[in-house]
């Protein structure tokens, strides 16, 4: 294998883009015992809070998705006073609702040799050995309880005629461990958590604040003690204090503007915490999902995912000959088609992990064998070119084999959705798909207890960095959200709350006042600029930069360029953005303006992180680091660590803290799906 890293100037410890701080480690997972004992031991060691005292303690939870909603319901049940916030009009609308495909659990209901260890192994391998071993093992361990819990709540998982639960397989694995509810698994799981949450609202243990956006974190003497919110109906900026704060605010894929994420997904909560001292882990690790509906035009606002489960029966191909790309696919004979995934990766075929399926789709299109309309692109050197960005996902084999009815039963709603959006009938013409930004594996750094580097600030679900390494296998984010929300956090946070209640904070405490004032000043500043460009136009431009230089493939040169471009764009933003209306109102332009401001800062950090990691792994492909066959090449000797970034201060370089990854239960291997 060749290692083609050049560019000595960024190999030094410090440089113009970042500086290096001391190493860090997770101090919470018990050491020196077998991996299957770690979670039980930690649970036993963690201190308890007696039920009578829980009533005196309060916890703020921001987010009502699977991670936040489940945690709020569970902590409410346990007897704590929970204050729960979300930006939507109802907790039931959190972005988890959009998940289609399924949720993994090591139940071994199929008798196909599944086990906790195998789920653990697949997840660590799928993450390209960049996740923390102890966390992932725990995730696999509690996965089976999640299914039990959800079934007890009435989540209508798919069942077989005998009345037992059905499962299917997903990318990156060879067992059938994915539980699903048609193409609406996320919705059904979230409704389950939401109902438990509403039950606690009725019981008075949870106070729900919808249409409240967290805009600042309150930290007192190094402890997270509260948040500042903006009431999205009347603009009121308010402070809330508690004994602990939990952020379950989801991912930041919207930094790319076009993504499969809901429009409101943002980084503000975690970014504000980052600026107050919470380390940001692996920010550049973005998952690109291979099966999305391709971009159709400039005014598009989002990309729609077609569930990965389609790859169970759909076959992916492009014409062998570029001259066939404009033909009706039905006229292209079998021997003129290139089922490239089946050809290159015979063991996994169409079910290779997402990063691999995505990159190969891009390669096919770059080679000139993409299908669909040709769209204009500007390449790295500023030249315009026309490229077809699409590959076929073809069900004709499956329809011949199983009959249209059976295919309809399995995937009907997805097919309808495709037709709705594209105006084409996928039962007749193969679907066209292309990769899109989908999920962010990076997030706030947390220890085994899910506590961030700020004492008393916990982070769960997609908002933390912990369990997925450089890539996420399908059906594992829902699993993590619910594992964190129902089982992990409610156990670990007790250890911290055992020292509470902490001193009551008066409204005029300097730290509280400072947080409120700085939030208010930001709002005032955004409204006062009165420039000429809309918030969305900045967001789109940022998205273009991120996708071009920090998307599926990255180079040192491109990333350096991107950092410069983002810095300029940000400067322009703060002098030329136009935010209409006033604060004391329902003002959606203002909401977006605050989020885009934070995305600009995050985008730069993502590029810095991508720049420093001179290896390819998972969804992060560095062109300079590949095997002779063009596969991603890791460098375990140099990069076997989590990059946890500390905010360096306004206008200063971020500080890199490394947490070395230690693998004891699993042997490190080059990932291969061939």
């Amino acid at each position: 294998m060749t290692d083609t890293i050049t560019n000595p100037e960024i190999t030094g410890e410090a440089n113009q883009f970042w500086s290096v701080g001391e190493e860090i480690a997770d101090a919470k997972a018990p050491q020196g015992i077998d991996i299957d004992k770690v979670w039980k031991t930690r649970q036993f060691q963690a201190r308890l809070v007696n039920p009578a005292n829980r009533r005196k303690l309060s916890v703020i939870i921001v987010g009502t998705g699977l991670a936040g909603g489940a945690a709020a319901a569970t902590l409410g049940e346990a007897g704590y006073n929970v204050l729960n916030f979300c930006y939507q009009d109802s907790p039931r609308r959190a972005h988890s609702i959009a998940a289609q495909g399924g949720i993994n659990a090591a139940k071994n209901y199929r008798n196909d040799n599944d086990s906790t260890f195998r789920l653990f192994y697949d997840t660590v391998k799928g993450g390209d050995y960049r996740a923390r071993e102890t966390n992932v093992y725990r995730l696999a361990e509690v996965s089976a309880n999640i299914i039990d819990q959800c079934v007890a709540q009435g989540v209508p998982f798919a069942r077989e005629y005998g009345g037992l639960l059905d499962t299917r397989s997903f990318g990156g694995v060879q067992v059938q461990r994915t539980f699903y509810a048609r193409g609406q698994t996320g919705q059904q799981l979230l409704i389950g958590a939401y109902q438990q949450l509403e039950r606690q609202v009725a019981a008075g243990t949870v106070k729900m604040y919808t249409r409240h956006e967290m805009v600042e974190l309150i930290v007192v003497d190094g402890r997270a003690r509260g948040i500042v919110t903006r009431n999205m109906i009347n603009g009121k900026v308010e402070t809330w204090t508690a004994d602990a704060v939990v952020l379950a605010t989801g991912g930041y894929g919207n930094v790319f503007f076009l993504s499969t994420n809901a429009m409101g997904c943002n980084v503000t909560a975690t970014w504000r915490a980052h600026r107050k001292g919470a380390y940001f882990g692996n920010p550049c690790y973005t998952q690109i999902h291979p099966t999305c509906i391709p971009v159709h035009g400039e005014t598009q606002s989002k990309l729609t995912l077609m569930s990965e489960s389609l790859r169970n029966d759909g076959r992916i191909w492009v014409p062998k000959d570029a001259a066939d790309c404009t033909k009706d696919p039905r006229q292209i004979p079998e021997e003129a088609r290139d089922y490239y995934l089946e050809r290159i990766y015979p063991a996994f075929g169409n079910l290779v992990p997402r990063d691999i399926a995505s990159r190969q789709a891009k390669n096919m299109c770059d080679e000139g064998r993409g299908v669909g309309p040709a769209v204009a692109e500007v390449d790295h050197d500023g030249n315009e070119r026309l490229v077809r960005r699409g590959v076929y996902l073809d069900f004709s084999d499956a329809i011949n084999r199983l009959g249209q009815k059976a295919v309809e039963n399995k995937y009907g709603n997805l097919f309808d959705m495709y037709q709705q959006i594209t105006g084409e009938n996928p039962y007749e013409v193969p679907m066209r798909i292309y990769p899109a930004v989908h999920y962010t594996m990076g997030g706030l750094w947390v220890d085994y207890d899910l506590q961030s580097s700020i004492t008393g600030l916990y982070v769960t679900g997609e908002a933390n960095f912990s369990d997925h390494g450089a890539n996420r296998l399908g059906a594992s984010a829902l699993m993590q959200g619910l594992a964190d929300g129902y089982f992990v956090l409610p156990n670990t946070i007790n250890d911290y709350l055992a020292d509470a209640p902490f001193d009551k904070l008066p409204e005029d405490h300097p730290a509280v006042a400072e947080a409120r004032d700085s939030a208010q000043q930001r709002i005032d500043k955004l409204l006062s600029i009165q420039g000429t460009r809309s918030v969305d136009s900045y967001h789109k431009e940022l998205g273009h930069i991120m996708w071009e230089y920090c998307g599926m493939e990255r180079t040192e040169e491109g990333l350096k360029k991107a950092i410069g471009l983002i810095q300029n764009l940000r400067e322009d933003y703060w002098s030329n953005v136009r935010v209409t209306g006033k604060n004391e109102d329902f003002n959606q332009a203002l909401e977006r303006a605050g989020r885009v401001a934070d995305f600009m800062e995050l985008g730069e950090l993502m590029c810095v992180d991508a720049l420093h990691r001179r290896e390819s792994c998972g969804g992060h492909f560095r062109a300079e680091s590949q095997t002779p066959e063009g596969e991603a090449l890791r460098h375990d000797d140099e990069f076997l660590y989590v990059a946890a970034w500390e905010w360096g201060g306004e206008g200063s370089k971020p500080v890199l803290h490394r947490e070395p990854l230690i693998y004891k239960a699993i042997e490190l291997k080059q990932r291969s799906y061939k």
């Binding site: 959009a98 209901y109 729900m208 606002s301 209306g581």
Partner: protein
């Protein structure tokens, strides 16, 4: 394509509202209805006017947050969500009326955005199965017959958008409430609280100011998830049975 839009503008809950006319050019038929509104809002921002407020999030037809009345029909009349309605359903030069959901229990917050928190309170009144975390039995210990499980599922697909309420001349939320009732009533896990649940949820429904169901059927006609009128019949059967049981609100 070119459109004439007539949009309900209302500055706040207490303010008076009115229809305002806008001409919009450059709409492509691949755009979703909300992308068309985005385009209008970009134009308004350019002219330094306030953009139109409307609710949305997933833009995939699943979160239930979007929803406006288009030419008098909730979600525009193709039994889909507003975000999944595409401009190819309209013709060049068309005039389109856009209004918020109209119902006493859904007060207008601004322009096209309304307050639907009453739905959450109906759920809080009993739309759940009481099952504390960590104490659940093994999932396979209670098989669920496929037929009932499928019916439960069909009802569980309700996204809580509120189109049914907006479409109903009585502003009844019975379709929504019945979807939840039927979802849980069809599952073995839902039995212990079945009758208590229906009684409490219907009581809350009435308390919120939603009207009575008089079987008009407009609700099911606009429901993007195809919740059938049959679910309301199921609710009524359970409600009658509940009168002979002691508990519930």
């Amino acid at each position: 394509m070119k459109l004439k839009l007539r949009i309900w503008r209302q500055a706040g809950p207490e303010a008076a509202g009115r229809m305002v006319e806008y001409d919009l050019d450059g709409v492509s038929e691949d755009m979703s209805f909300l992308e068309m509104l985005d385009l209008l809002n970009e134009n308004l921002t350019e002219r330094n006017e306030e953009p139109v407020a409307f609710d949305h999030d997933c833009r995939e037809g699943i979160c239930g947050m979007c929803g406006v009345v288009i030419n008098g029909i909730a979600h525009g009349g193709s039994a889909t969500t507003t975000c999944q309605l595409h401009m190819r359903s309209f013709s060049d030069g068309a005039t389109i009326d856009i209004e918020p959901w109209r119902a006493g229990a859904f007060p207008v917050l601004k322009d096209l955005a309304v307050d639907r928190t009453a739905f959450d309170r109906i759920i809080a009144a009993g739309g759940f199965i009481s099952s504390n975390t960590g104490s659940a039995p093994e999932a396979h210990s209670t098989p669920a017959p496929k037929r009932e499980a499928d019916k439960a599922f069909d009802n569980a697909t309700c996204i809580g958008c509120g189109a049914c309420v907006a479409a109903c001349p009585n502003s009844s939320a019975m379709l929504f409430t019945s979807a939840k009732i039927t979802h849980l009533a069809m599952l073995p896990q839902g039995q212990p609280e079945r009758y208590r649940r229906v009684k409490s949820m219907v009581a809350q429904h009435d308390e919120e100011g939603f009207g009575n169901c008089t079987n008009i059927g407009e609700c099911a006609a606009v429901c993007p998830k195809g919740i059938p009128l049959e679910s309301i019949a199921q609710l009524n059967r359970d409600l009658i049975a509940s009168l002979f049981k002691g508990d519930g609100k």
